[in-house]
Point group: C2
Chain length 411, copies 2
Amino acid sequence: MSLTLDRDRFVSTMKEQAEIGGTDGGGLHRLTLSEEDREIRDWFAERMEDEGLETRVDTFGNMFGRRAGTDPDAKPVMVGSHLDSQPYGGIYDGALGVVAALEFVRTLNDAGIETRHPVEIVNWTNEEGSRFQPAMQGSGVWAGVHDIEEQYARTDADGAMFEDELERIGYRGDVPCEPQEEYEAYLELHVEQGPYLEENGKEVGVVTGIVGFTWGAITFHGEADHSGPTPMHYRKDALVAAADVITQIRRIPSTLGERTVGTTGYLDVKPNSINIIPEEVTFTWGFRDPDDEIVEEARARVLAEAEWAAEREGVEWEFEDRMRVEPAHFADRCVDAVQAAADDLGLDSMRIFSGAGHDASHMHGVCDTAMVFAVSEDGKSHNEEEYTSWNDCYNSAQTIANAALSLAEGE
Amino acid sequence: MSLTLDRDRFVSTMKEQAEIGGTDGGGLHRLTLSEEDREIRDWFAERMEDEGLETRVDTFGNMFGRRAGTDPDAKPVMVGSHLDSQPYGGIYDGALGVVAALEFVRTLNDAGIETRHPVEIVNWTNEEGSRFQPAMQGSGVWAGVHDIEEQYARTDADGAMFEDELERIGYRGDVPCEPQEEYEAYLELHVEQGPYLEENGKEVGVVTGIVGFTWGAITFHGEADHSGPTPMHYRKDALVAAADVITQIRRIPSTLGERTVGTTGYLDVKPNSINIIPEEVTFTWGFRDPDDEIVEEARARVLAEAEWAAEREGVEWEFEDRMRVEPAHFADRCVDAVQAAADDLGLDSMRIFSGAGHDASHMHGVCDTAMVFAVSEDGKSHNEEEYTSWNDCYNSAQTIANAALSLAEGE
């Protein structure tokens, strides 16, 4: 059996969600637990009710809607993603996966299709991690990776606490934030956020896994002196040491692997005055690769570079690991279901490893998981220029719907 | 004739001023136009009244106290510095020069010495430039380098306007902020803020001039992409380009001159998130040297480096000149007066070029000028560790008092 989503309804639903928190620049500013997040959650809850789904909200705000299956012993197939956005992010990131899940159950209802397994659609809380860290927080708590009390206590840049904000928007539910039963599979559709599909002229991506990564921060402690009368050989300049390491972070990936990436995204200078030699600089590293040994090697390399830079500039240094995630290799049967769906739809697909983390990273530890990628024009995401054509959105939604149907039918 | 200051009174006056805005760390937090600045100004006004000086405050808050001379046609000799401090700065920077000026007139009064030229002591408004930019603001307006209305409109980080704050603390005076007559000479005692006197085992510095400098800011415009799925060869990372230039700013001085220094003190990253490739980075350059051609060459070099770094990383760039000051070479007769005073006192001195700007930089354009430097231990300043021994403070105060006396006597 094959499903065909209503293209017009699918596109208009994508546009509908993009109105809530939409920016003048054509993007989305829908930060987790904000007013806009409350609005989109209300919208999603209503849409699930419209379809007669059995809805629940857990104690961390994750929202689920279930469509019953015919076999009381069959485990549910979960499909979804997240509705929160980056600050001034794009309208596809996350939302595409949730809208595709919604259209999947709408289409099952319209066609009167019954599945052996229950189908559950989900909107995970705070995937982006931009207002409250870490990213993929809701799925992480649900999967048992994070302690809920620790995550409740996280604060945003204004000092607002996660737990208070969750209460405030009315989305602290009653259901414990953990799996209530075993799951058959988890499927997630997401925009690629990279250029590989477009570069290879493909219509859809069959995601075989997610890169592992290491995140951390290095702090150099130099000496704050007047930038005029302090001779060069007297200086212990924390920013010069940081610049050394940042240059190497640009270079390290080219010595390790084809898919290795390395980034310094954050840097803070103290006292940050044109006339004072920087006393303290903290900056981050981030390295990702499909191969866990390469991730580990990149971390070792950046720490060696920090040591050398500190010695070169005569400054003290320290570091802090912020996050370490092993690469995920998805279950063959889920990847195969996605591949078969793409093939049946006559779509030109390629197998691809995800360069970004997703809620699927945590779900991978709970049940068999796979993902579908939609083409990201120019590989752009996390900004208002993020773009995926409606054709590419629709093709990828068709793919996940048919893959989910085949898993839910238990074939 | 030679003067001998009262060492005990001098030291206790230094300690007295250090109480106002004193920090737990033994430094000073006496930002310009703050409550602490109002207090120290009130204190200084009272001390000038105590000595029977004819005081005035100009429309920019600069405070003057005049001791009459015997010759009605003789032009005044001005001596002073500033009483504001850096955030958590030291107790000597600026204050030493004002206290020495005060002790100079106190000693003239005690000894009943009359001078041919009037003697004027001064406390310049906002030398530090940390709350309101630029540095040396009061002397700059007075010397006609800055437009007063433009400077009134400057705001601090909280948006408070200079003019309002000056009114608020009650130090917007009635006298126009400009020279009311010609001046015979200007002398200023300041801590060296560099290591040369200590390194050479000298007791006092005879300052022959002030280095010139160039300040500016470079902005790189890259592309904000997700740090995971964006391959290295797709990136246009503004921070990597900035790191290239910062590394070269460390290196450029070593290719130019013995006294050349170069610094990046300020850097700002947008959006500054661990997971996003930096889109926009603005950072500053600052180069100083006694030779103006070297200053110009340093500026040209850093702009060339910015061009190359932008090309290397595929980012756009722009720059902004912030300040450009030519080196000052002090008048021989003033430098000679300082040298003679040091020699007469039996102090081991050396001629030195100032690596920092001072109010004397602007006064150099108004009348013959020179400076005296006191030893800075480890060359430290602009922080609470700034230290000059009472011996070094006293020796340098003795030097400026005797140099000022010889100029005021008109010998």
